[in-house]
């Protein structure tokens, strides 16, 4: 087993935000037990955007679930700003953006985005709650606040779901392929929306994705995972200047990095087939 890889990153020298240490997790009955995560260690610094990318079955969604407290690891430890996942959840420190928007169809967009403020109100003390209307406006949904989810396009629903995760000022945002259900044009638009918003509200983000360009344009670091058993194969620094915008796609630096990540991904997938 390779030693845990810890890439250096000097851009965020502050204390560690999320510390994932030696997580193991397996599923299934004893005779057909599948190791989904095999000694995964990772640090997400405060304000850092980290993407998880890798072939299906590499455990990237499982890792996200473990950090979210939705799935229990067999071994290892996750700490969020020094707290256990359970404590962090009690303090509403975790913002989740699931794969589908999962908005409540009987609530307006405004009421959906206000939900995390009204839930578990004890944890609201001493935090910088945002004004739901304001955050919706900055996501370009200012005119839609009184609409119901079914009245919005899929892209707008997903943006509302992201606003819902930012509104209560969590310490870490976990996003599980939030744009995977959208068509390509819509996806790129939402990506840029998230990039803009995040660059002016830098929060720790763990972002699961299948898309190499998406990972590059958004992230500070890309964590490349390999499957069978799920593990970290490589951590790639994205040393592209911020603030970024669409123009970055056309630069040589972006293309070089894209080529490098794709190549690394191919190697990981070929190794799995041998």
């Amino acid at each position: 087993m390779p030693a845990p890889i810890q890439a250096s990153n000097d851009r965020y020298p502050g204390e560690a935000g999320v510390e994932v240490a030696n997580i193991t997790k397996s599923f299934g009955p004893d005779e057909a037990r599948v190791t989904v995560l095999n000694g995964v260690s990772l640090t997400i610094r405060k304000g850092e955007f980290v993407s998880l990318i890798g072939p299906s079955g590499c455990g990237k969604s499982t890792l996200l679930k473990v950090v979210a407290g939705l799935s229990e690891a067999d071994g290892g430890k996750v700490s969020i700003n020094g707290k256990s996942v359970r404590e962090a959840s009690r303090e509403k420190a975790i913002g989740l953006v699931p794969q589908s928007p999962a908005l409540l169809p009987w609530r307006t967009i405004l009421d959906n985005v206000s939900l995390p403020i009204s839930i578990n109100p004890n944890a609201n003390a001493g935090r910088k709650l945002r004004d739901p209307k304001e955050i919706l406006t900055s996501f370009g949904l200012g005119k839609a606040i009184d609409r119901y989810p079914a009245q919005l396009s899929g892209g707008m629903q997903q943006r509302a779901a992201i606003a819902r995760a930012f509104v209560f000022d969590p310490e870490i945002l976990l996003m599980d392929e939030p744009f995977s259900a959208l068509d390509e044009m819509n996806r790129d638009q939402q990506r840029m929306g998230l990039l803009d918003f995040w660059q002016s509200n830098q929060k720790s983000v763990l972002f699961v994705t299948h898309s190499v360009p998406e990972a590059i344009i958004l992230s500070d670091r890309i964590v490349l995972m390999a499957a069978h058993p799920g593990r970290i194969a490589e951590i790639i620094d994205v040393d592209l200047p911020r603030p970024r915008n669409e123009a970055l796609y056309a630069t040589d630096a972006f293309r070089d990095l894209e080529g490098y990540v794709r190549n690394a991904l191919r190697k990981v997938m070929e190794a799995a087939h041998v």
Binding site: S89, R90, W106, L115, P116, Y148, A150, Q151
Partner: protein, 272 residues
């Protein structure tokens, strides 16, 4: 993109005028009713001991409206109290079962046993136990609607959007918050599906309760049995018509209520 914000009213077929559209909705069923009425009259006029003529049924209602009204109120009372209690209890038990699986484990077998026992068979025993008052009738009516309410509500409470549930979990939502903000509103489409089944059954239940747990000899069901025994066909059929009307009114009220409560679950109502 911004154009998709504006909810366009679902465009209906605009080829015909409103009048013509209304005629299109009403005319076919009206024709069916007219044909049935004509056939009825033909049979009634030739076989007076099989069916009463429609005008004799109408005359019977017009000649003694207070008698029909009083009996209808009794049946309504059985439906409101009996079915109301059955619906409420079915729903509350579903909530208890979905929150505490041990309750479902403990009670489901007993409930299935009760449900496969014919209500008609239990009724006389209930009369023996509870006397000739209204209570056995409430129980019979309640039993009939209880099961569809329980099963549908339980299915609804279980049919939670898992991704939304994940969001609630990461927020450390309490059980009560999850129930109030997610499970309860989310189960309403199923609850209304249960009510849609329960409403006609409530009328059946009340009528059957009067048949088998006779006692006070009041209500439209009792009126049917008594008049049929006396071969007073106009009264029999007038009572049947009123039972039928009761069912139609209940189902229509339910549809109205559903529109108010569940507008969000009908995508075509709010438009896309």
């Amino acid at each position: 993109m911004s154009s998709s914000i504006a909810a366009e009213a679902a465009p209906k077929a605009k080829t015909s005028s409103p009048m013509a559209r209304m005629a299109g909705d009403w005319l076919p069923p009206a024709v069916t009713f007219v044909i049935v009425a004509v056939l009825w009259q033909v049979v009634a006029l030739n076989n007076p001991y099989v069916l009463p003529t429609l005008e004799s049924v109408g005359n019977s209602m017009a000649s003694d409206p207070h008698m029909y009204w009083a009996n209808m109120l009794v049946t309504c009372q059985e439906i409101v109290i009996g079915a109301g209690a059955g619906i409420l209890f079915g729903f509350l038990l579903a909530v208890a079962m979905s929150e505490l699986p041990i309750i479902e484990k403990a009670m489901m077998p007993l409930i299935v046993v009760i449900m496969v026992t014919p209500v008609v068979a239990i009724a006389p025993a209930l009369v023996v136990a509870f006397g000739f008052g209204m209570l056995p009738k409430y129980i019979v009516t309640g039993l009939v609607v209880f099961f569809p309410m329980l099963v549908n509500s339980l299915a609804g409470l279980r049919d939670v959007d898992q991704k939304a549930l994940d969001v609630f979990k990461t927020l450390h939502a309490s059980r009560w918050e999850t129930f109030r903000d997610l499970r309860l509103p989310g189960c309403m489409p199923f609850v209304f599906a249960g009510l849609r089944i329960a409403m006609p059954l409530a009328v059946v239940g009340a009528a059957v309760a009067e048949f088998v747990a006779a006692g006070q000899q009041a209500g439209l069901g009792s009126l049917v049995t008594i008049s049929a025994a006396q071969a007073d066909l106009p009264v029999t059929w007038a009572s049947i018509a009123l039972l039928c009307l009761l069912g139609v009114v209940l189902v229509s009220l339910l549809a109205l209520l559903r529109k108010r409560v569940l507008w969000w679950s009908d995508a075509d109502v709010i438009g896309r």
